[in-house]
Amino acid sequence: MTTTVLLFTLLKVIVIVFVVLTAVAYAVWFERKVVARLQSRWGPTRVGPHGLLQPLADAIKLLTKEDITPANVFRLVYFLAPALSVITALLAFAAIPFGPVTLVGGVDLFQIANLDIGVLYILSISSMGVYGIALAGWSSNSKYALLGGLRSSAQMISYALAAGLSLVGVLLLSGSLNLRDIVNAQAGATWGFIPHWNIFPQLLGFFCFLTAAIAQTNRLPFDLPEAESELVAGYHTEYSSMKFAMFFMAEYANMLTVSCMVTLLFLGGWHGPVFGPALLQTMLPLLWFSLKVLALLFLYIWIRGTLPRFRYDQLMAFGWKFLFPLALVNVLLTSLIVAYRAD
């Protein structure tokens, strides 16, 4: 590994982290805007045109707020938890390819690391995300936070299972754990207009994964760990200032990860019509990818604006008694089809 490659990679990591953090900030803006329009409000309008500078204002506000540490917290864990949340949320982006292989100076521009086990890597990193929440809830010496932490750990374990299982179908179809291979397997189209996206043969898997992923990212209708009307703010009740913002960032980063994952696994990643001059041809896949991610984010927000919240036991029952068997059925069906085709 040469020094230039190392430097280039480092630079790439920094750029991607910066892009992701900006995307997170604007995901918040996007959510506020979309929810506001769903609810016949305007959303942020005051800071900059269309409130576009709102994320900046929020960041300044959160940074300059007093950082309160309540009495009798479990200090080490209390400080560790938000960092853990944010780190695990950001680590997942290391394996996500944002576009086709575009080599500049021997470095792939649109992906930090092309892992052979990309899918497993992202699943494992996201399974670590529960620690941030569970430990935050437990360490803050608050009953609401404790209940939130307990809820989230049970919820995350339950839904991680369904999420993992629902991906098996896709993996069976593409025969690889490498995200790039999976996306490449979805290139092309039948009759020129039906793309070979996994969502069509894997509709069941898509539904299962999306639902489980929404649950894993603690979003409505599965936002029980932070259900504000019940637990005030759940696991981050006792957090303020930047530590609170870190949980917030982690939540939105996780939303982005999930949207990226769904795009890559089910929606054909960056595939889309490519035309025009060379520069446009390199940029178009990025555009398709971003548009798909944006559409999924919109779906997320749309669901949030529409549905009420589950109750805890209903959530568990839904995960174990409905989603999990459904994912199993999907695995069974897909493997049967794959076996039949192999014959």
């Binding site: 769903l38 016949s40 009953k143 259900a227 009307s229 019940e230 919240r309 109750r311």
Partner: protein, 397 residues
């Protein structure tokens, strides 16, 4: 009988102080919960954080001044409180306001009911997680508040009803405005119902949750929609008509299940019935004076004060000394959006009420809350609080 002491039942339980600062206690309700995991073993309500001594204050005011206090008891249905108090005083005085005033009172009361139910629906849905409904409800409530502002100059603390009639003649074109706003309402209610009524999650959260049996409802003196959802067919507007409610035809929604969903359905239907009443009031609004002819009680209207000495003197006398009310006692109940709102007024013959007692529906309804929530999950408690539609100002007075 339920014990109210707070001793842990077992060792592995947790006491959770929910409120008085909590997003879903609808004000400053303090609930002391004993939890086993998330299951509520015992719930005890602690009230009084909003106790402002309105009943005591009334004793120092004249009968007219006390009107402004009544609407501060329940800030979601000020006109219902106005009406109840005014009716009680009129009964003591033996006055019967002219029919135009009565019909206006009915119409505004039903608008208040719709407005109050909208706030209930929005906050209740928000508690269960459907945030959008809240915004929709407040959007429509704004229209109703604008109507109140047009008629009385105030959005919430209206003080529009006076002993003997109304404070002012409604502005020109007011009825047209009401008609225009009301014309949009059936669609709006359909919109809420589309979001909630057949929603699987909503049904799962509300059906057979927080069941209040008919017997319990009677025992705790639960009234209003909460009682009607438990099968108690009882509506003061129909069964003990006041202010010419007997001239209107409307249905009283009734459900037997007694769960949160039943209460939800009853209130939704009540909104539609209220719309009907408003429409009838608009169609049949009688012409005529808005105040009874009782110079000793009613402030002189219009230009009289500028041209007639007697009117001016009357004005001064009523404003400064108030009017005397013959000794006696009266209990007047009206159907508020939350249930039986009653005013018990004792007069000793002076210009100040000797004793004013407010029988507030939420006060009684809240007593039933532990019965609804005990043995269920914390999330159900939140739904239960929303479903009995409490207003803490009215509970603590």
């Amino acid at each position: 009988m339920f014990q109210e002491t707070i001793a842990p039942v077992g060792k592995r339980t947790m006491i959770l102080n929910m409120g008085p600062q909590h997003p879903s206690t609808h004000g400053v309700l303090h609930l002391i919960l004993e939890l086993d995991g998330e299951t509520i073993l015992k719930a005890t309500a602690d009230i009084g954080f909003l106790h402002t001594g309105i009943e005591k204050t009334c004793e120092a005011k004249t009968y007219h001044q006390a009107i402004t206090l009544t609407e501060r008891i329940d800030y979601l249905c000020p006109l219902t409180n106005n009406l109840c108090y005014v009716l009680a005083v009129e009964k003591l005085l033996g006055l019967e306001p002219p029919s135009r005033a009565q019909w206006m009172r009915v119409m505004l009361n039903e608008l208040t009911r719709i407005g109050s139910h909208l706030v209930w629906l929005g906050t209740h849905a928000n508690d269960i997680g459907a945030t959008t409904v809240l915004l929709y409800c407040f959007r429509e409530r704004e229209e109703i508040l604008n109507l109140f502002e047009a008629v009385s100059g105030q959005r919430m603390m209206t003080s529009y009803f006076r002993v003997g009639g109304l404070a002012l003649e409604p502005p020109a074109g007011f009825l047209k405005r009401v008609e225009k706003v009301m014309a949009t309402f059936p669609d709006h209610i359909d919109e809420y119902e589309e979001l909630l009524t057949r929603n699987r999650i909503w049904m799962a959260r509300t059906k057979s949750v927080g069941i209040l049996t008919k017997e319990d409802a009677l025992d705790f003196a639960v009234s209003g929609p909460t009682a009607r959802a438990s099968g108690i067919d009882w509506d003061l507007r129909r069964d003990n008509p006041y202010s010419s409610y007997d001239k209107f035809s409307f249905r009283v929604p009734l459900r037997a299940e007694g769960d949160i969903y039943a209460r939800y359905i009853v209130r939704m239907e009540e909104m539609r019935e209220s719309l009907k009443i408003v429409r009838q009031a608009l169609e049949g609004m009688p012409e005529g004076p808005i105040q009874v002819n009782a110079p000793a009680v009613v402030l002189p209207q219009g230009d009289n004060r500028k041209t007639e000495m007697e009117a001016l003197i009357q004005q001064f006398k009523i404003v400064i000394d108030g009017f005397c009310v013959p000794p006696g006692e009266v209990y007047q109940a009206v159907e508020s959006p939350r249930g039986e709102m009653g005013y018990y007024i004792v007069s000793d013959g002076t210009a100040h009420p000797y004793r004013v007692k407010v029988r507030s529906p939420s006060f009684a309804n809240l007593q039933a809350l532990p019965r609804l929530a005990e043995g269920r999950l914390l999330s159900d408690l939140v739904a239960c609080i929303g479903s009995i539609d409490i207003v803490l100002g009215e509970i603590d007075r």
